[in-house]
């Protein structure tokens, strides 16, 4: 049987630190604190939300595509094509 203290412990438990960030988290940030990376993630997340909502509409689903369901991740910086220039002697 779950005791009240167990329930309380569960509800007050801090989220795991490696929990993926969602669009809702980014939207909650103060605009003044937004970095360029945050903004890029925000716009990418909103585009993803729109794509999913359009797909849900097209399939006749009534699914609610909330911002909490949209994970956002830092933009991947591709290093391909970069190389250390060989010093010329």
């Amino acid at each position: 049987m779950t005791s009240f203290s167990n329930l309380l412990a569960q509800t007050t438990q801090a989220p795991p630190t490696d929990a993926p960030q969602t669009l809702a988290d980014t939207l909650r940030k103060h605009a003044k604190d937004l970095t360029d990376e945050d903004l890029t993630m925000l716009v990418a997340g909103l585009r993803e939300q729109r794509t999913r909502w359009n797909a849900a509409q097209a399939s006749g689903s009534r699914e609610r595509v909330t911002s909490k369901k949209i994970p956002v991740k830092p933009a991947q910086v591709s290093l391909s094509g970069f190389a250390i220039k060989k010093p010329t002697i």
Binding site: A24, L27, K29, H30, A31, K32, L34, D36, L39, T40, L42, V43, L46, R47, Q49, R50, W53, R64, V65, T66, S67
Partner: protein, 404 residues
């Protein structure tokens, strides 16, 4: 605080380049659209005309006395911020920023503006603002509506206009006291030439009035004609057009409208007799006949850029409303009739009665919210109204004679 989208900076004071104020601005400046010493406007926009047409008492409270609710209704504040974001995007593009950078700067502005929105309405929040801006720019990335360009190359967005419409003869006012030829001659310690006399009469009209033809020969019997001109005001129509677009080979004026409800034909029928849209069309008709205009041909109508705001989605639909030259003619006739039959007698007699009950309940919802914001004041006995206005409202000047 100000945001400069072109440089991506937050500033304490506005810079010379384009920047957007982030704090609420309430103007307490005198309303220059009202003729000094009277309660009669010489310049009207669609807001003042709608108030005037709807209810004289509301017109008096809101426009003449300048009272507005302490908190702007969410649809108004949200709509204003969405307009600002769209204007910013167009200005970023016109300044040479690429689409992606312009979207990022506009999204940042939407986040900044969204933070001042009050969460009284779940569909008009910071999240719905940012989402609607980004989704809109995605939806219309390859927009078939092409923004027109002004003669200087800047985009035709957020255009302010002020057009003379008709002359109205008004009696002497505090600013323009009764004037007779004897008064003028007594005031002067010299004998003026006829030309000087005309200049003296004309010089009194610092604010308004049609010019007396310069070649007019002055004779004592012409003095009445001079006075008639002296006491005439030219009534103007002013406004603010969101965007002028080319669609195929036609030109339209566009306006954004947000709604919590589905964007159906019933919804758009609600704008059938919209003073705002008919006014924009009329102004565009007049401007298309002027030199150096943004309109290469008379406009075909107004395109309503509709946004349906859900808590988790924004849906878009566009509705072209076609108007005809007869629409403009009728609008101008109604405008003149409203001023001559309502505004001028009300100002002359100082009477601002409440009008139809349907005005009080306009936009009133089943839960009792909405409707005229002054209902509570109106329900009080006349002596208690002023105190209630001071307690429950803020002063903020709505001045149609000032471009935004």
């Amino acid at each position: 605080m100000w945001f400069a989208p072109l440089t991506n900076e937050l500033l304490d004071s506005p810079s010379e380049s384009f920047c957007v104020p982030l704090s609420e601005h309430r103007s307490l400046a005198p309303n220059r659209s009202i003729i000094p010493g009277t309660t009669l406007q010489w310049c009207y926009d669609s807001t003042s005309l709608t108030l005037l047409q709807g209810c004289l008492r509301k017109y008096n409270f809101r426009l003449l006395q300048g009272y507005q609710p302490r908190e702007l209704p969410p649809p108004l504040s949200w709509g204003r911020d969405f307009h600002t974001c769209k204007e910013t995007y167009h200005k970023c593009i016109a300044s040479g920023l690429d689409h992606e950078t312009s979207v990022l700067r506009t999204a940042k502005l939407a986040m900044l503006l969204g933070e001042r929105l009050l969460s009284l309405d779940t569909s008009r929040t910071k999240e719905t603002l940012v989402r609607s801006v980004v989704w809109y720019l995605e939806e219309y990335r390859d927009d078939p509506l092409k923004t027109a360009l002004l003669p200087d190359g800047s985009p035709a967005v957020e255009l302010s206009f002020m057009l003379p419409v008709f002359d109205l003869e008004v009696g002497p006012t505090d600013e323009l006291p009764p004037l007779s030829l004897t008064d003028i001659l007594n005031e002067l310690d010299y004998s003026p030439t006829p030309h000087q006399l005309i200049e003296i009469v004309r010089g009194g009209r610092k604010l308004f009035g049609k010019l007396i033809p310069g070649k007019m020969e002055f004779h004592a019997e012409h003095f009445d004609a001079c006075l008639e001109a002296f006491y005439s005001i030219t009534v103007h129509f002013s406004g603010h057009i969101d965007r002028v677009v080319h669609f195929g080979d036609e030109v339209f004026v566009t306006d954004y409208k947000s709604s919590k409800y589905a964007l159906t034909s019933d919804w758009i029928r609600g704008f059938d007799r919209s003073i705002q849209f008919m006014g924009y069309y009329t102004a565009a008709q007049i401007m298309s006949s002027l030199p150096n205009t943004v309109f290469p041909s008379p406009p075909a109508g107004v395109i309503v850029d509709g946004l349906q705001l859900g808590v988790t989605f924004t849906r878009f639909a566009r509705f072209p409303l076609r108007y005809y030259p007869s629409t403009a003619e009728e609008f101008l006739q109604n405008f003149e009739a409203l001023v001559r039959c309502k505004a001028e007698p009300a100002a002359r007699l100082g009477l601002y009665p409440f009008e139809s009950e349907s005005e009080c309940n306009h936009f009133r919802r089943r839960d009792g919210t909405g409707g005229c914001e002054f209902r509570r004041v109106c329900n009080l006995p006349a002596p208690a109204r002023e105190q209630e206005l001071k307690k429950g409202f803020l002063k903020s000047t709505w001045d149609p004679s000032q471009s935004r």
